[in-house]
Symmetry: C2
Subunit: 317 residues, 2 copies
């Protein structure tokens, strides 16, 4: 199959990787997303050009021809698996953009939800390679999610399966971008941090820095955030029965997360046999979504190798 490129279109940067079928990452690069470009046509032109140049750069660095490309992006993927069909709020211009038409590499350029892509990558060559049932929470501006069952990352009939950030934790709380009141995303996403701290913090590194000094308000807010995360994980454990919980994104690697998270999980998790479900950090980091997109472009994504557009009409990867 040769070299496959995965590209992950995030709110800030577009990450690209070159990956072989054996899971060897031969090259990686990133460029700005420039979501601030006001004109949608111009922004689309910039993205397509950026991807073409990124693919060329990866070809040069890897010293081999790129045979396929896969795209990861936030939002809901269309049923044919070729575009993002729904992405409210950010990245205007992404909806309906058909990369198969624009890039002309391989038969098709499949599109996969970014959190689902990250879990595909972890299942392939990362922290979830030894389990069949797991879920991933990506802790960033928002809270993304993805679910693997019986070894397959699931998209569900409409692509919505695994939108774990949009689960209510406080039925009297503020609605999130999906209209879900007091959701996990409202309690844990960085986007609401300023509001939750009465304007004092806008990023988690700031909050965690003050937590480290023992600042009382910062301590309370951080611990409340971690407790909300533990409450969400505990609920999802009861709904999904995973063998492993993976955390990715911004705060997942902070050393200040583990101890309070363990304390709260000990309190909140239902453990009928006395066993805690292991919680681990995603291993592939920044490039996880891009690796998963490349894996998707290889056909299937969880071991069942299929190719061509008809293979994209499926409810699981």
């Amino acid at each position: 199959m040769g070299l496959v490129v995965g590209a992950d279109i995030g709110g800030t940067n577009i990450k690209l990787v070159g990956v072989t079928e054996d899971g060897e990452i031969t090259a990686q690069t990133q460029v700005e997303t420039r979501d601030s470009i006001a004109d949608t046509t111009e922004k689309r032109r910039y993205w397509v050009q950026a991807l073409r140049e990124g693919i060329e750069a990866i070809t040069r660095q890897s010293g081999g021809a790129v045979t396929r490309v896969g795209i990861a992006a936030p939002g809901l993927v269309s049923v044919d698996g070729l575009t993002i069909r729904h992405m409210p709020g950010r990245l205007s211009g992404l909806e309906g953009l058909c990369w198969t038409d624009e890039l002309g590499v391989g038969d098709v350029v499949p599109v996969i939800n970014d959190a689902q892509a990250a879990l595909v990558a972890e299942s392939w060559i990362g922290a979830a390679s030894q389990v069949q049932d797991a879920f991933l929470l990506t802790l960033g501006t928002g809270v993304g999610g993805a679910v693997m069952l019986d070894g397959a990352v699931r998209r569900g009939p409409t692509g919505r399966l695994g939108h774990l950030g949009h689960m209510t934790l406080d039925l009297n709380g503020t609605a999130d971008i999906c209209g879900t009141p007091g959701s996990l995303e409202v309690f844990v996403g960085e986007a609401t941090l300023a509001e939750r701290s009465a304007g004092r913090f806008t990023t988690y590194p700031e909050l965690i820095g003050e937590y480290r000094t023992g600042d009382i308000a910062a301590t309370e807010l951080w611990l409340r955030t971690v407790r909300a995360l533990a409450t969400g994980i505990s609920s999802l454990v009861n709904v999904l029965d995973p063998q492993l919980v993976l955390l990715g994104g911004g705060i997942s690697t902070a050393s200040e997360l583990g101890p309070p998270l363990k304390t709260y999980m000990d309190e909140l998790e239902w453990r009928p046999d006395g066993d805690a479900v292991p919680i681990r950090t995603a291993e592939l980091g920044t490039y996880g979504g891009a690796v998963g997109a490349a894996r998707r472009a290889m056909g299937g994504a969880s071991g069942d190798h299929v190719t061509g557009a008809e293979a994209l009409h499926r409810t699981s990867y």
Copy 2:
């Protein structure tokens, strides 16, 4: 295969059905569970005797030999699929009781969680027979749940998959029997109704009767209950991406449920394509769990016909 008997051991009654492989229900009967029998050995002896007599009665009524028996019960099923291994609070004596040893009908007498059994039955010959992805909430003393994905009702690695009542809706709320704070079960289960009404109501028929008269406190409590249910369903739609939501048990057939539930779903459900996920009442009613247990005893339960104990070591039915 001939006639198969399914038995559903509930808190109040044991329901038994005789079912053919074509899904024809040839006989049904029920006896008291008598959970109040204090001595566990005596209670177990009573249950085994009740099941033996029930099987005989169904044999007589159906005019054919019973070749297999399946059991549905609340709690977590053991990995070998032959016993309930964990059932806190009620039905002491049920944990570890091996029906294969006690009844001696067929090779094995498989045991299946009661809510999962009800969804198996709905998927087989009920309201979910035309879809592949659905979840069921059973609204009774507590709130049970079950999940079907890709046409298979899932039990998950530990049997916990689909414990949908144990999902937090208020992270500051009272813990339920699984230790989950402010769960769907806490807000909707009949067990908490007395507490939620300051002792005024202990059953939903009482509450709904007063709601019908326009009583202000009853109206508020009923609408708050339905809103909590809608919040839970909306969250689960985002997590599980079903084609259909099924409601079973006590209040699911009340005509007073539909209109407020629709109002709240219109407000709370994320509808990226404008479509509401249909919500329907389970069709098989009281005997759904027993029918699902019979289907389980037929081998598989979702179309894949397998027999023998080794076939029970699976993470989906």
